[in-house]
Amino acid sequence: MLSVTPDTMGSVTAPTGVIAAGFSPVVDESRAINGTVGDITARDPRMTARHVHVYYGDKLAINNVSLDIGKNEVIAMIGPSGCGKSTFLRCLNRMNDTIDTCRVEGEIKLDAQDIYASGLDVVPLRAQVGMVFQKPNPFPKSIYDNVAYGPRIHGLTGSKSELDGIVEQSLQKAGLWDEVKDRLDDVGTGLSGGQQQRLCIARTIAVAPEVILMDEPCSALDPIATARVEELIDELREQYTIAIVTHSMQQAARVSQRTAYFHLGELVEVGNTDDIFTNPRHRLTEDYITGRFG
């Protein structure tokens, strides 16, 4: 187990052989964070990020973040608005490529394959690392076509009956099958908000990804729909690895096994969810959790 403990202000010293997830020395003492508190590694990592920097033009948005995402776990990323958790999440499936001014440095690996290697095709990467967005965005096609789109373009099925099977399975796993099984031809955008988000989840799992990234999936939903999606995340954990960004600490506490706290583009503390919420080690984490700032 590797860990870095907070040191005296202004400098980082770590024993040799230990990964120091340290930052460039800061002059502003109020922001003196000297390395991430807690264990950034996971026992059986699916994705590993090391020394990731993300720039929007000249502005540094993510500052030297290293983090592991373990297999079949739900890791929650929490932090105040604008702290970079969504940016970091989007690095994991290279969705930041769509933003012209964004530049990513560092190493992110999916099962030992560097996803930022030059010449790497992002299309299969995004089939392996799926994403559910904050605002439900089903395609303006039928429910069936929404779920079937991924398998179709990736050539995952041979026949129509296979495709039907995948669609049914995905909708069942997403907990939507009973509600839509007799109206699969209705347009996807005609469902309610919660149903649309579950449709997006079904669409994502139809391509059988390894990792599912969720960017505040419940922030546009009412409490009942939120509860259903959280139930769903728990069920999906058995098959998939899930990284979820959330604004709600209660949700992070309910849903995740590990939690990572981000602050102003830096990873402040990582650890088991129970430990973070009952016994945070860093001052900033404690301030956030107790609500001193949001």
Partner: protein, 432 residues
């Protein structure tokens, strides 16, 4: 001395004081706006009234009922029903003999010329067509409605003033007397003029039709549509979705926007120099006309298509990319179908503009007097606006109403195309 709180004017009083003036200003502005709209509508109404008033007459043709003797010795002396003989027979003589039978008192040559001049020269062609189609008519006697000469047509439609002294009139008293006689027996009347819609151009006003111009316009628009829609949509897609954002693409964008404002005759000159002189394509052909109009319509289509592409919400694009669609797949499976209604609307509006274009087509020669109705995009032809332009120049009185009628047809097509564009827009609004 300090003012007490009571002396200070309250906000509500100050507001009320200026309220009347504010509302008066707004009311004046509203009336000005309404007045402008009404004025515009008034002028449009006057224009339509003028055009329709002048033009509706052209949809009717004065015809004369004559009994024609299909004399075999005139049509087919040899009696063999040989098509060549039938085709070249003197059918005008049949018409003349029918007129002589009707008015046996006419003897003098000048009087006879006036009598024969009452029937259009197209009557002979009509008889020829009937006999060629049915040689069994030879030897029979049939009553048939034949087109009257354009002067008679104008007389019946009331455009020739009978009160003006004879020397200043085109028609002599004698002719007017014959016409009145025919009117009283019901042997001359106005009937629906199909020739106007189906026939080709002609020097004789009563035989002239817009059929050739309409077909020419149709072929030209077809070529324009087939060329400009794919090129315009593909260019817009590339510029919007795939092109890098650098100085070169900015330059291209500025140029396209500027091209939309270039006077259309410049494209005609370009077409003349490049398509006709350099490539040697046939002059006056709808193919070349279509290519010139494509150049003219492309900026409109590209600009409208880019606006349509920009309006597709980024959430749909992200969803598609997140699933693992490639750039091409995202654009063709998701963005293009959602942007298509906007692109179609822009295309229809561009086509409506192209339909009314005259100047560039004049440059490439689609201004000739062409009698035949074009059979393909390579035959020489003219287009509707040019036909209107040519007829407007003609001296015969009858061409005046024909010009207005052709304008009515052109306006009808334009209104139809714009209506389709509006319906499409309304139907496909906010599908997501």
């Amino acid at each position: 001395m300090n003012k007490s709180a009571v002396d200070q004017p309250r906000t509500i009083d100050r507001v009320n004081a200026s309220l009347k003036q504010r509302y008066n200003r707004e009311r004046r502005f509203r009336w000005f706006g309404l007045g402008a709209v009404l004025l515009g509508l008034l002028f449009v109404g006057l224009m339509f009234l003028n055009i329709i008033g002048n033009g509706y007459g052209a949809f009717q043709q004065t015809r004369m009922l004559l009994e024609i003797d299909y004399h075999p010795e005139v049509i087919d002396p040899a009696g063999e029903r040989d098509p060549a003989t039938l085709s070249s027979a003197n059918y005008a003589a049949l018409v003349k003999s029918a007129l002589r039978t009707r008015y046996p008192d006419v003897a003098e040559r000048r009087e006879k010329r006036e009598l024969y001049g009452m029937v259009s020269s197209g009557a002979a062609l009509l008889l020829r067509a009937r006999v060629m189609a049915d040689p069994g008519l030879i030897g029979t006697r049939q009553s048939i409605w034949l087109p009257a000469d354009d002067d008679i047509d104008m007389l019946i439609k009331g455009h020739i003033d009978r009160k003006v002294p004879e020397s200043e009139r085109r028609l002599s008293d004698r002719v007017i007397g014959w016409v009145e006689q025919l009117e009283s027996t019901g042997a001359i009347e106005r009937q629906f003029n199909l020739t106007f819609l189906t026939g080709g151009d002609s020097r004789e006003p009563e035989l002239a039709g817009i059929g050739g111009a309409v077909m020419g316009s149709l072929y030209t628009l077809l070529v324009t549509l087939l060329l400009s829609f794919p090129i315009g949509v593909a260019a817009a897609l590339y510029l919007e979705e795939f092109a890098p954002r650098n100085r070169w693409t900015d330059l291209v964008e500025v140029n396209i926007n500027n091209l939309a404002a270039v006077p259309s005759i410049v494209f005609g000159l370009l077409g003349l120099a490049v398509f006709i002189n350099f490539f040697g394509l046939p002059r006056s052909a709808p193919l070349v006309g279509g290519m010139v109009l494509t150049l003219m319509t492309l900026p409109t289509i590209i600009i409208a298509s880019r606006a349509a592409l920009k309006s597709v919400p980024p959430s749909i694009r992200e969803a598609a990319l997140g699933i693992g669609a490639s750039r091409m797949q995202m654009v063709f499976h998701h963005v293009l179908p959602l942007a298509m209604p906007g692109m179609l609307t822009g295309t229809i509006i561009g086509m409506a503009q192209a339909l009314g274009e005259t100047a560039p087509l004049l440059m490439i020669g689609m201004v000739a007097f062409i009698v035949d109705i074009p059979g393909s995009a390579l035959d020489p032809s003219t287009v509707l606006p040019v036909q209107i332009f040519l007829w407007a120049d003609s001296p015969e009185r009858a061409f005046m109403e024909k010009t207005s009628a052709a304008i009515m047809v052109l306006l009808g097509f334009l209104i139809l195309m714009n209506l389709i564009a509006v319906i499409l827009r309304k139907r496909f609004e906010r599908r997501w």
